[in-house]
Symmetry: C2
Subunit: 346 residues, 2 copies
DNA sequence: GATCCGAATGTGCACGTTCACATCCACTGT
DNA sequence: ACAGTGGATGTGAACGTGCACATTCGGATC
């Protein structure tokens, strides 16, 4: 009943062996599910482990096998819903596979900051890396520092030096834009993400393709920074021009800021202006008006990233990953274009 | 110019020693900034490291020093803004101190799920633990599994077996409620968080204290789950009663869902009902109406948690941490109570 | 000039685990 | 009866690092 006296040192495999009256190697075999071990021996060993409160020492195991059972996550903007959800999914999936996750945040996106984060992760002897900071720069730095472990990007980057999930952001963005076009909008502005983000670029491309297909005139996209505050700022600038009837924002936060600015300027959404977002964050369906957006399954993305990465780590043959296609969710922020000029029709 | 031929094994301290023509111990001393090493020797060693692209093997170091330089984070609801921000701050701060962070997500909050997550972290030989899952249960399981490393909670739990930051949620909630009372509201409902969350409990206590101080009648609080969807559901139920003029929601997401339900029911916020949230998530200032809420500095909370924990890990004397007091941010979702009955005054 | 001192460096072992190889034993086939 | 087989277990080395302890050496002290 009384806890075993600990002499300041955690019990090792040899302590267990002594108690179970076997060799340390037998204990190791029990730990690693070696096939040829007699059930009753195994039982005895397990018993001894229980008694001693034995926990395997990962450092020792890693040292000898040179497998750390750890994957790294390099994340930017991890405080926002999308990345945070994917990170959580990655952790869950990794845990299921017996892997640990080590996250490094990209506080600033300067090459030095990126290199620092990567260096930090490499010190940890990770076996693979998931990159949730899909900025072009990050991949350049990664390529330059030849980290020597496989890595996977959550978005297709076009590069050949790593694995990539293919979430078809282009199609998602195109559908969003086509939705607006289908409602009769012909003057559509795109509030894009930062230019060096792969996602931002893909969404803009989808937008441009749709505009092009419909042979509409192109309004120069506004380059934002993903934040609601920027959305508000961009909206304030836009209302001065009033030469558009719809805006496609590259994410929901910016869309929400945008709608705020329109509201402040006395513009009705969707009466005067339609707005579409991207991501479908949990509040999107509750804001006023409810936000038409493009749903992304961040959880599934995280899971697949881990599957892909571990597959590569274990040297298995390349598995095929089907595209994840985001889904348009139509809500209250979009409506057929009003007979113009309609601003006073409110 | 050509990369050094690697024989499939990473260079060790001994390889560096050979190249620099010193003993492996000298290399070790350079690595650990030992004082008595001749500058020119150090230079030679550093040179050799550079040439070989040497990286210290953390597993070996951990094995011999039994210090893993890793802290664990046990997080629930890590996809939402508050926890995600704190986690990011924890990572940044830990990195500054040369520590790695290992996160385990609490997918489900059953005792088994909790124990599983803790077990997973313990396998990693963490030196300390930050708990961002301030549910009573979690601390019970932690106490029961006697993990043997110090841990810190982001909220004061009242327990004595660990460190705790004291974010004064009670005061924050009280101020929010007093704000409503100051506006003349006398029938205030509290939409609370899950009962077993320490934060939820503290916020409810602040609410109750304020109600009590003002000698107002008490509406039974509604127990929610933090989500905007629940907020909407609760709001739909509430509009049937119409026996209140203000609601204090335990977080912003629920408040936003709540406002959605009120809007759908034709109730004006803040004309008919005032709403206050908690946390000040980034979209709070952009929703319609802009949300009065209580600001929490999640980043600072994360930083302090790491400072506190590492201080404890290194066995220093207990440092004093001053309270973090959340700040009320008044926006457009609260207004003086209307002369009742006012529902038709819209 | 013998002695002592501290700075600079080297030697061997220990950390806890797995791997390669060896050993023991019961059973099989001839 | 004997070699052969394979299951169950044991033995010793190795992984890469830091620690305790030894050694060397130049200069200060008397």
């Amino acid at each position: 009943m009384s806890p075993p006296q600990d002499r300041g040192r955690a019990p090792s495999i040899r302590d267990v062996a002594r108690l179970a009256e076997v060799s340390h190697q037998t204990v190791s075999r029990v730990l690693n599910d070696h096939p040829s071990i007699r059930p009753e021996t195994r039982e005895r060993v397990l018993q001894a482990m229980e008694t001693l409160q034995y926990r395997p020492n990962r450092a020792a195991r890693t040292l000898v096998t040179s497998r750390s059972n750890t994957i790294g996550v390099l994340a930017a903007l991890s405080t926002t819903y999308g990345p945070a959800t994917s990170i959580a999914a990655i952790e869950d999936a990794a845990r299921e596979h017996g892997y640990h996750v080590n996250t490094a945040n990209l506080a600033d996106t300067s090459p030095a900051g990126i290199a620092d984060a990567i260096e930090h992760l490499m010190l940890q002897a990770i076996e693979g890396l998931v990159v949730i900071a899909p900025q072009v720069r990050v991949f350049e730095v990664l390529a330059a520092s030849s980290i020597g472990v496989p890595f996977v990007s959550l978005q297709s980057t076009g590069r050949r030096d790593h694995l990539a999930l293919s979430v078809d952001q282009v199609t998602g963005a195109r559908r969003a834009t086509q939705h607006l076009i289908g409602l009769g909008h012909r003057e559509i502005v795109h509030l894009a993400g930062p230019q060096d983000w792969i996602e931002a670029e893909a969404r803009m491309r989808g937008f441009l393709e749709a505009i092009d297909d419909a042979e509409l005139g192109l309004h120069p996209p506004i380059l934002g920074d993903w934040t609601a505050d920027f959305g508000y700022y961009a909206g304030s600038e836009l209302v001065r021009r009033r030469d558009f009837t719809a805006v496609f924002a590259a994410n929901d936060e910016m869309a929400i800021g945008l709608m705020h600015a329109f509201r402040d300027a006395g513009l009705d959404v969707p009466g005067d202006v339609s707005v579409v977002g991207f991501d479908d964050i949990p509040v999107a369906k509750h804001v006023a008006p409810t936000l038409t957006t493009v749903y992304q399954d961040f959880h599934e993305i995280g899971r697949r990233a881990v599957a892909l990465l571990l597959n590569q780590v274990h040297g298995a043959e390349r598995i095929e990953v089907e595209d994840i296609v985001p889904r348009l969710v139509v809500r209250g922020s979009t409506a057929p274009v009003a007979v113009r000029p309609a601003p006073s029709a409110r």
